[in-house]
Symmetry: C2
Subunit: 202 residues, 2 copies
């Protein structure tokens, strides 16, 4: 999986063919995020993606030979903020870290829509990214479980909270509130998540 | 929208062309549920659906002129159990009614997958069933809010619970736990939902 797209772009001194390739790849990944987010993975074609950025299909296929390679790059790109979340959760607690991500996500409905569609499609074991999504949820739950246990140690969360259960319920309510917000953007997603966390970690 | 498919089939004495039409429609709706559940709405074609039950495309189009008609029929069919839920919630409380539905849903992963995919896709305002899904979530939340208020009146739920907030959080955690279960069927979905309801209505 291509995990270097974002960091390559972040290095401003890079020039020449490498920088150009990285820029082109990122353009394709952004276009794919958009197309998959509106038409789903099965419904969006490499042709749609190449058209959106005025590239030839051959050029897209040169960077991403199969549609599933492109999906992998889109998903990796979407999960880039994981390290930042970790630091924040350790320093200020799970609740504060989650609410920061929720507020940050208000600016990227297309990406949330894509993740919602593709994670639902990927629940089918036949789906190309099935394993990736199963692993993603396992990792998310395990990480959150550790962070909640840490919060209990620090006295930020009462000790009658079961970290494993709470982790799964928090991920669930988070996914569900995102969906409700995507359907009706007038919903106060951070406010609702705040109350959910008080109940689930209270 | 075709809302008579299920009830027509439930009347065993029906014979002749009407019964045949109803049976054929239900076959098509079942096949469409399956195809949309595995390939999404955009990814599944009328041709895939007709192939699955060995019908001609013309025959499918005769019953459902547009793919969006078929999606409407599938969604109506999926929401058939609403009245039953209502009665149960009034008699035994929201928690008991929800856990009954969650247990019942263990037998129909394909339908849950379809609803998860299509509700995510439908969050895009351009999507054919967008209005239907926005309305569905509004109705669900309003109904649950009334049921929780009733539970508070009956002393089944403490009066510091905000029915409007709790309704949205319950729907969210429910959607999210279904997704986690679809990805990993070893998850104890009813057990997790039980704990979520204790926290959100406790």
């Amino acid at each position: 999986m291509a995990s270097d797209t974002g960091t390559d772009l972040a290095a401003p001194a890079r020039r020449g063919p490498y920088a150009k390739t990285a820029k082109r790849r990122q353009e394709i990944v952004d276009a794919a995020t958009n197309v998959f987010a509106t038409r789903g993975y099965h419904g969006g074609s490499l042709r749609d993606i190449s058209r959106q950025i005025g590239l030839s299909l051959t050029s897209v296929v040169h960077h991403f030979p199969a549609k599933s390679d492109l999906l992998a790059a889109v998903l990796e790109n979407a999960d880039h903020s994981a390290d930042w979340f970790l630091d924040r959760a350790r320093a200020h607690g799970v609740k504060s870290a989650i609410l920061d991500v929720v507020r940050h996500n208000l600016d990227r409905p297309e990406l949330l829509r894509l993740l919602a569609i593709v994670s639902s499609e990927a629940s089918d074991p036949e789906y190309p990214a099935h394993g990736w999504f199963v692993k993603r949820y396992e990792n998310l739950a395990a990480e959150l479980e550790r962070d909640i246990a840490h919060d209990i140690q620090q006295g930020r969360v009462p000790s009658d909270v079961d970290p494993e259960q709470a982790a799964h319920l928090i991920i669930a309510v988070w996914d569900g509130l995102q969906l409700q917000w995507l359907l009706d953007p007038a919903q106060d997603m951070p406010g609702r998540m705040d109350r959910a966390l008080d109940r689930l970690l209270g």
